[in-house]
Symmetry: C2
Subunit: 167 residues, 2 copies
């Protein structure tokens, strides 16, 4: 798939077939994540891979979007490593770039996914469930899989609304 | 360019040829930016386009990376719209995804760029210079152009360092 076409056609995918994401596909998605830029190249992103249905079930109970987590064959919990932080705003932006790389890579592999943020309200419980230390701040959960049906269209603002001024 | 290949081969570009980024290229980069995901689809990103050499010169004076801004034919100042904010961390992540889409789109067009964050320390001065309101929070400046020479290689952590656990 072409790069520009991929950026323009990626959609959030919330329903998945039963096919599992392969180890090879996961490796490509993680390799893509690590190519994101970060301030001072601090690469503050850390991942917990969640394939187990029972762990996904417990994770699902921590967000109103639980059905998506139960339905996806693979979830990635993405954390900001407190030991790598140098500027919280820039680190959160870097994590966003990293998440976007993963979503685009999944799209390029014929997979799909959705970035779940509502679960951040239960960040501490997610940490305890996944047994990671308090120095890890939950940033998002990605649910990934083979799309069932089309992703959902969402409106976008017109460029005239986004460009404030030209110099 | 292939999507996965594009993600893996994008590098920060800090030196540019004299060729200007065309209006058509800029439009594609902005279209890509707006396809980023955001929480509740709030699309909090706003842009100021800076082509003018004199305005770029004044912008350059506000960061130690000024020479890059002077050398790039096009800069984009990216702001978070305080009127669109719903959760600052998630909004900063969405801006990161938006910036990454722009950098990837530029790469796909044979252009290159770099995400400048150090200038955030002078966010208020940038706002005054570009004449945008106080409800706009500076998130980054992108310097874009046709690469002169190769982008710089930067190390990446091994995936074993990034994956904390598997469930």
């Amino acid at each position: 798939m072409d790069l520009l076409e991929g950026i323009m056609t990626r959609r959030s995918v919330r329903e998945f077939s039963e096919r599992e994401v392969s180890g090879e596909e996961l490796e490509k998605i993680l390799a893509a994540s690590s190519r994101a830029p970060s301030g001072l190249n601090n690469q503050p992103w850390r991942f917990v891979i969640v394939r187990s249905a029972s762990t996904r079930g417990q994770l699902a109970a921590l967000t109103r979007y639980g059905p998506i987590i139960r339905n996806a064959s693979l979830c990635l919990a993405v954390f900001l490593d407190g030991n790598a932080v140098y500027h919280h705003v820039k680190d959160c932006q870097a994590i966003g770039a990293c998440l976007q790389n993963m979503l685009l890579a999944a799209h390029g592999l014929g997979l799909g996914g959705v970035w779940l943020g509502e679960i951040l309200k239960n960040g501490a419980e997610v940490r305890r469930l996944l047994e990671v230390g308090e120095d890890l701040e939950l940033m998002a959960v990605l649910a990934l899989g083979e799309p069932k049906g089309k992703g959902e269209e969402t409106d976008r603002k017109r460029l005239q609304e986004l460009v404030l001024k030209e110099w």
